[in-house]
Subunit: 536 residues, 2 copies
């Protein structure tokens, strides 16, 4: 409950609302608290920073921007930022203009791909146009800068793409009607393509709730649909719908980053992002994504394996090993699976002896379950081709895990591979003599199957009878349940998916168990009809 409460969206919204009406000194701790829980909630960052801007706390404002901008690719927040920058720089004259321009470039490199970025492009172009130019050279420079900005804007799928195109047409025509023709006809198809993509993209974007707070995955339909909506948007972007080369990856990165603002706690998004980076050739970027992922989800075993796998794949074995060791660090938290995976890792990368050494240590760990023995034994058998070691490991495990039916069955499977029916039979007998009735059901089942394969008719029938006797208590109590039933016969004379009867017959006969015929019949036997003696 504590974990759920932590991410309670309703109380967060109430808290954020209450902060609106408080003086900044009281509101700030509330925002800090909210942003610790929701570090990617652009709307809270914006509210926070606007509160600081409202009282002209420039230093605090700068600080807040530096903490949030790169993780929150959110147009309203960034517009807030540019408003702040312009306010600050307006005082500084030419130098200030140059800084504002840099800030615009910085912003557009981060959120210029957003479908809602149209207004920032416009603002940027208007800003460029407003730059003072004291001579023709500067005028030409300014014109070139404006043109470049337009040419980027009109190939970006935004809500304002049509207006930007019209503005661009006007701009070129105002510069030179003659030149305009060539340039516009060059850019027309690119614009057309971007516009078509915009129309398609809008469908995906419209499905997304841009107000959502990042909470761990829940079963709620809304959350699931958001997850699906993001997956679809990402898949769309990955399809490179504009058939653009260099900028396509930038768009995809942008989409992932934006997605992670909302699906911050979704391991699959982190994983997809990292593997996509790796496949695109940016190993370092992939590693960085995994590092961020583990910051977001420090408890996620699977992300650690994923990260370790990436490192192992690219030969960074020390880094991979550290990740495995981090899974094994805390003895109380360590899982049997972590032992197994580490043994395999060692076997793959450091050889048989390293794996063996670790196994011997792991055996002493309280988290060493029978799985570790099974995994190690099968590794010895399948990879090292050493049935003797495997057999010894299974036998050693038996001392500890005789009470684990699954271990017995794994051991029996292994002996089946060795075709060692004498030892299989002995193993079943040992296990059955020590396991309680309710734990031995599967063992009896497999013993029966075993005799069907390895035994003769008599041993087959005998083990079936013993199984019935063992599983129905004493003979006296469950006499009718002990009868060999036609279902048993059918199972004796079937082979794989071949049956000596129709599936209808089988259905019919299987119903018997549902009706509890035997239970009722045998219960009356403890009743009171034993008055009479014998009949002459």
């Amino acid at each position: 409950m504590a974990a759920v409460d932590k991410y309670n969206v309703e109380s967060a919204e109430i808290l954020a609302n209450s902060a609106l009406h408080l003086p900044i000194t009281q509101a700030a701790p509330i925002y800090e608290q909210l942003l610790t829980i929701f570090p990617t909630a652009a709307k809270y960052w914006r509210q926070y920073v606007e509160a600081q801007m409202g009282v002209n706390n420039d230093d605090a404002t700068k600080q807040i921007f530096s903490r949030c901008l790169l993780n929150c690719l959110h147009v309203p927040l960034w517009r807030c930022y540019i408003r702040f920058i312009r306010k600050v720089n307006d005082r500084k004259g030419v130098e200030g203009q140059e800084e504002t321009r840099k800030a615009f470039d910085f912003m557009l490199s981060y959120v210029g791909a957003d479908i809602a970025s149209g207004p920032i492009w416009m603002e940027y172009i208007a800003f460029l146009k407003s730059m003072p130019a004291v001579n023709t050279q500067e005028e030409t420079q300014r014109m070139t800068a404006v043109r470049k900005a337009y040419q980027k804007a009109i190939v970006t799928p935004t809500h304002h793409i049509e207006q930007l195109w019209r503005d661009y047409e006007n701009f070129e025509n105002s510069v030179s009607r003659q030149l305009a023709k060539g340039l516009l006809s060059e850019y027309q198809p690119k614009y057309n393509s971007a516009r078509a993509v915009y129309r398609e993209l809008k469908k995906y974007v419209d499905e997304i709730d841009w107000n959502m707070l990042a909470v761990p995955p829940t079963d709620s339909c809304k959350d699931q649909m958001q997850w699906v909506a993001w997956k679809r948007l990402l898949a769309f972007e990955k399809g490179n719908p504009q058939r653009i080369d260099s900028a396509s990856n930038k768009r995809i990165i942008f989409s992932y980053e934006q997605c992670l603002m909302y699906l911050y706690h979704y391991p699959d998004i982190w994983y997809d992002y990292a593997t996509w980076q790796a496949k695109s050739g940016s190993m370092d970027a992939a590693v960085k994504v995994f590092q961020r992922a583990l910051k977001a989800l420090p408890e996620s075993e699977m992300l650690k394996y994923a990260y370790a796998e990436l490192e192992e794949s690219r030969g960074a074995l020390q880094s991979a090993k550290k990740l495995y060791e981090s899974l094994l660090g805390d003895a109380a938290e360590t899982t049997a699976l972590a032992h197994i995976q580490f043994i395999r890792f060692l076997r793959r990368n450091e050889g048989v002896e390293a794996a063996r050494k670790y196994f011997l240590d792991a055996r002493k760990s309280p988290s060493c379950t029978y799985h570790v023995y099974v995994a190690y034994a099968l590794m010895a058998f399948c990879l090292d081709k050493d049935p003797k070691v495997a057999h010894n490991v299974f036998e050693a495990g038996l001392k500890q895990f005789m009470h684990e039916p699954v271990y017995i069955l794994e051991y029996a499977d292994f002996l089946s591979c060795l075709n060692d029916d004498r030892n299989i039979r002995a193993l079943f007998e040992r296990a059955l003599s020590s396991l309680p009735q309710e734990e031995s059901i599967e063992i009896w089942k497999r013993f029966t199957q075993f005799e069907k394969t390895y035994g003769d008719l008599a041993s087959m029938l005998k083990v079936e009878q013993r199984r019935k006797e063992a599983l129905s208590g004493t003979i006296e109590e469950g006499a009718s349940a002990l009868e060999t039933s036609l279902l048993d016969l059918i199972s004796r004379y079937s082979f794989k998916d071949l049956w000596p009867c129709s599936s209808k017959d089988l259905d019919h006969l299987s119903r018997q168990e549902h009706f509890g015929i035997y239970v009722e019949a045998s219960s009356q036997k403890n009743g009171g009809f034993m008055l009479g003696s014998s009949f002459e």
Copy 2:
């Protein structure tokens, strides 16, 4: 449909009703027809025989009784019989009386255990009492006969048991008050026990529809409940509620015989009856039950195996072999399972060479599926400990069954036992190069599992990638589906029932496939956004 129509209960009832109003010459063929389909329908036999009795066709009457009585343990039908016998014998004086008495004994030995047999016991006793006695010796004989009849009747759980006990008390008191005391106190507990059993038995009997016609098992709730009701009644009788020794088996036989009048087409009842007979030590009786069962259900494979198993168990190998051969007689009807079971039978009873010889023949049969190869190979491996023969058989089968994914998997399982990873890998590759995509899903799955056990990280990842490529068509079409997903990673890093994530995570991730995220995303890629060129 024809088979169902044959057992149409409604039209049978209409037909039987119509026969009531027809002269016997026209009614007889109708009865014959009905009784061919429902040979155990006592009510039709009775109606038939009463029609003959109505027109005094004594010969025909006798004939009909001889055809039905022993298969129809039905009190009203037998009372009809005794009425007929008495009518015939009444004309013959003393000699006739003796014959009637024998008929009574005959009847009581068949239906004297019926819960509704009270009136016949009464009629019998009345008949005995009415026998003439010309001297004291004959009077004593008569009295002894009456006493014996009473003493049997009062330990039989019938609806009239209380009245019979009162009658018996009166009888003994009328003979000798002094003697009565001793006899009655001896029989009182036996009577008490029978009465208690009667009260319990009645509950079971009341559940049974004594008017039901014997039709093959259906899905109808009514039929199922009747089946259950009979099973419960049988279980009750088998519990030997009266704790009587010798007569208990007679009661059980009576119940089975009566049950089979109604559940004539239920193989499990026949099987239970036969195995019960065998367990009670009456092997011959068990064999006879099986013979009758195969007359009732000549198509039932499972009953043939059951019968053959009984014969084999008791060493009647020739008889068992004949049954197996009857399963193999008609080449068109023979099943692969019949080949397999016969090979096993031969291996058990005639040795390796006989089994091998039959396998070589069976291979040429059109009904020889891959199962026969698998079964024979595994027999050679597990029983004869001859992996080389097994390997050769699998390899020979491959020529014919390369297109059967299940055969490939069985072969791979076998090679896994041999720990022969080189050949497993080669087998998978051979199979995958010839199987169509939709048939290769399981092979790919197993290939992936195989590399997880036998391969290194690179081969594991490679086969997963190949699997995705193979199963999703070309790369161009399903690019997103080809991405390694977190689910794949989870499957790579799980071991048996250990997972590197919670079951909640797993549920969450598995939903992805339901939403068809990839399908939609990839379908748009064939759409029309390829207008643009590259982005500068």
